[in-house]
Each structure stands twice: as C-alpha cells, then as structure tokens.
Symmetry: C2
Amino acid sequence: MNDTAPWITFRPELTVLDCTIRDGGLMNNSQFTDDQVKRVYEACIEAGLDYMEIGYKNSLEQFPKDQYGPWRHTYEEDIRRVVGDHSPEETGLKLTAMADAGGKSDWENQIIPKKDSVLDYIRVACYAHQISEAADMVRHADEMGYKTCLNIMAISIVKDAEIDQILNIAKDLPLDAVVVVDSFGNLYREQIDALVKKYASAVKGSGIEVGIHAHNNLQLAFANTIEAIILGSNRVDATLLGLGRGAGNCPMELLIGFLRNPKFELKPILKAIQETILPLKQQFDWGPSIPYHLTGQMNLHPRSAMAWRGSDAPDDYTGFYDKIISDV
Amino acid sequence: MNDTAPWITFRPELTVLDCTIRDGGLMNNSQFTDDQVKRVYEACIEAGLDYMEIGYKNSLEQFPKDQYGPWRHTYEEDIRRVVGDHSPEETGLKLTAMADAGGKSDWENQIIPKKDSVLDYIRVACYAHQISEAADMVRHADEMGYKTCLNIMAISIVKDAEIDQILNIAKDLPLDAVVVVDSFGNLYREQIDALVKKYASAVKGSGIEVGIHAHNNLQLAFANTIEAIILGSNRVDATLLGLGRGAGNCPMELLIGFLRNPKFELKPILKAIQETILPLKQQFDWGPSIPYHLTGQMNLHPRSAMAWRGSDAPDDYTGFYDKIISDV
C-alpha cells in the first residue's frame, strides 16, 4: 500500500504502560484483591510490558480505608505483599504509581525515597489550573529518586493558550514524559494530531518524551493511540480489556496486537483478561456504550453517564439524551 | 487546536447510508420481522439519512426461503409491505439493495426496471476476481435506471497491482461511487489513507465518488470512516449499534454524532437502537470482542471467530488464540 510501510517494523524506544489497576480502580474504589493485582502483574511481565501502574498515591484522609482499597494509596507493604522484592532487572517490568494534584495526595509524605521503594516511576496527574502544585510534585518525586511524568488531564476542555503556558513550565521540569490525556474521550484524530504536535514542539530538545492516554467514549481510544504513535509518541498507556473509568481506556489486547516489537506477547494478556478481568463485568460497567458516546461527543466528564449506567435503566438511551441535552 | 478546524463545519455532498438490515442480515439469515425493518426505515427518515439498504438482491436458489428471510431477496412486494409506495422526495430517503457477484444473485431477473421499483440505487458487491461479472451487473443496473456503486470486498487481501486493475475498469463504469470495503476489519489508519488516495486518484475526473465501508474488528470502524471522510470520501456506510457481520460495522450513533450537517438527528437513531436493535443481542453476537480482534489482526475472514462466539465457550480467548495460530 505504501512503499515505506513503517507499521511493519517497530521503534525500540516505545514503551507500554499498563494502568489496569490504577485506572480501573476508579470503577471499584480500588478494591481489587491481592490475587487480582498479582495476576495482572504476572501478565505484564509475561507479555513483556515496560511499566505497570499499580495504583494511586492518594491520601488516606481524602480516600479513607473503610471506603477505598489499598490500591488507592499503594503503601509499600501493600505492593510488596503482591510483588515481593520486585526486581525490574529480572522481570523487565518497572512499577509506577500515580499521584493526583489538588489535595488528593499527601505527596510530601506518601512519596518516599526510591531506595526504600519497589516503585521506579511516579506519574503526576493534574488539571490545567493545578500545574504549579503538579510541578512541585514532579520536583519532589525527582528529588526522591524517581523517574517522573506529567499527565495533564481533560485536555479537551483546555484552551490552546493555557496548554502553551503549561508546556512552557513542563519543558523545564525533570520529566521523562508529558502525556496527552483525553479524559473525556472527546478528541478526534485531527485534534490528537494537533495536540501531539504541540506537545512535541514545546518539549523539543529537552529529552522529554510525549505520551498518550486515551479514553474510549467514541471507540477512538485505540485509533487515537495509534495516531499518537505514528506522530512519534513513545509513552503509551493501555489497560486489559480497556478496563478503566466509564468508557474505559485503550485496550491492551489491541495495542499489543498492533505493535511489532517481538518482545511483546499477546497470549498472557488474553489469559489475564479471560480469567481475571472479564469476570469483573458482573460487578461494574465499563467500556463503550451510548451514554459514554454522548458525554464524549459533548465534551463532558463521564460522571453523568457512569451514574446512568449504574441505574435501573442503563439502556434508556433516549432518556439519557434528553437529560444531558436539558442539562447544558 | 487548528486554525482551520474543518470538523466544525460539513460537506453537504456527503451522504450517509444505513445498511443495518442488509449487513445485519448476515447474522440472522436476513430473518428480520416486517416490524423491525419498518422501525429502522422510520428511524432513517427521522434521522435525515440519505440511503437505507434494505437487503440483498440474492438468488432464491442459493438462499432458499425455508432458510432465509425476505431481506435476502428483497422482492418488490416484500419491500412495499414495509414502506408502501415510498417517496424519496417526501421522505428524503432513498432505498438501496445489494447484489453479490459470484453466482449469489440472479441479477438479470432480480434487478427489474427502476420505474417498477421503490429502490433507487443498486450496490454491487464483488471480490477482486469477480470484477468482470460485477461490471456486467453495474451496467445492467444502470440500464434498468438505477444509480449504482461498486463495493470491492476484502480489499485488505488484494495486492496493489490487482486493485489498480480493478479501478481501471471501475473508472469507466456508470457508477455513482466505488467503495473501500474492509471486510476483515484489518486496516489501520495509514492503510486506509493509502487506499482512499489510490481510489480517488483512479477515478479522478470521472465524477465517481469514493465510499467507505468499515468493519469493527479492531475498534477502528468509526476511526477509519472518519479518516476516509477527512480525505474526501462522500459515501459513508454505518449501521445502528454497529449491527453487522462479526465485529459489526461503523456505528451510526457515533457517525451522526460526529457529522455536523444539521439535517441529521441523533435521537431517532438512539430510539431505534434501544427499542429494536439492542434486544437482538439476546439472539446473536456481534460487535468487537477478542476473537474478532484476532481475525482482524491476522487479516482473516471472521468466520472462525463467528463460530467461536457462537460456541459453548465464546470467551475462551486463549483457546481461540491457540486455534488460529495453529491454523495458519
């Protein structure tokens, strides 16, 4: 089709991060069992993935233990109960956790020196207006010895001038990557193009990579992830069976089937999905469906769709349509 | 994001075709009730769609009445039982039927003069090696008074030199459109780009439009449809809730939510899905799932995945993986 056919080879510098437990935790208050986390961990290793994000570094005060499972706080003893003295060298897998800005994380205390942790990488997530705290968090995590990245969430509702300002701060931070995060699953291909190019241009020469974290409201998470890869993104997020908030994430099974790096193995992904993730469908709803399509199309947070999908009439699509039309 | 932001406006010459009943008929031997067809028909009118493909013009001999419903043959009396003396002028909707090459259609007898039919448009489908019969079918339908198009199926397994040869024939046929058909749901964005550009280049100056008919094996049907539109495709296929063979088609609810032509209305689409299409999920399986991902990734006909999804262990993904790996 194309004489160059770049999709038949691969870029060795492209790394894949599994955030099944972290993002999926938004659907079940991070109440995964140790066995579930262990099976995902083992699948990540067997599949040859680069990173597994095992949970949030969020505060006990905001997310108390009687309501939230251990993967909302990811204390060292909880992680080690699953992964033991995890060795990145032996397994090929590095562990990450995500800390939210905006008072959700007690990051000064929760992010301990890397020499005392099995974590390798801290990902800081913030909304646009939280960039100054996020920058402090990145610097703290860097001082503690971690690789870091910055995930600027809900980018589809941030104006270009504000994105430019944020990237101007980000380019001088000690970051491994800055990530395009389409939290509302709103963006189309041309919009992803414009954002990835903007991010890449802003961090050019800094050594910072551009990442992609897509949501699947419009069945575009995989397509938009490919698109970012085509444009040079080397930090890619996905989850098993797309598990994640609302419409979910880029499905790992599609991503690994697309990438041509022979180090990746699909079958362990399929096994973990079949045995560990698919049964969760009995407990809560995620993945593309019409309420999520509608919030995605309207560039809205998925919370109203999540509530609708959890109601007695999850498939009353016209009812949900009427509701969100009258809400705006 | 982009100063030109073309996605915020629309091209009036872009037409949308609903092929729910035609393509969905591959899942239930075209055994839709008259009421089901009528509700889809009414939804197409209320939503402002341009075309509804109401069934196949396939032969009674190959597809006998004791096994196949009326929408496999779409005789005039069957269509009129649902649509009456359908008026394209009053409804804004034109009706189409698809005739397959390769002996599946008794087209010399089944395609009657347009003046005696409520159909406006005949779509001829063929595999690459059937192009000569398909060309005869197109000429016959044109002589009978219909607009016509040519759907060259399973294009992901056809070599470039053969596609060029087919397009060289197509450009001289009396066609409204020639359609890029990704029957196996195998193609990625860059491959769609190459094909759409190839088709457009071949028919340039002929007045023939380029169409897109995508399947959803890799959750790329909508993304690839958008991509073709961006590149100038003005004939676009979709189905309600993506109903169609195997992984299904581009979902109409996503397409109509994306297009900005104010003549299109989303709510009638949602209503028909909720009341008429969603209940069919109890009867047969369609839409993206891992077996379809795997046949899509491997550029295979979805028939083995369809059989697996209809078996006692539809979610034994590793079993299916082992099977198709050993089959190739």
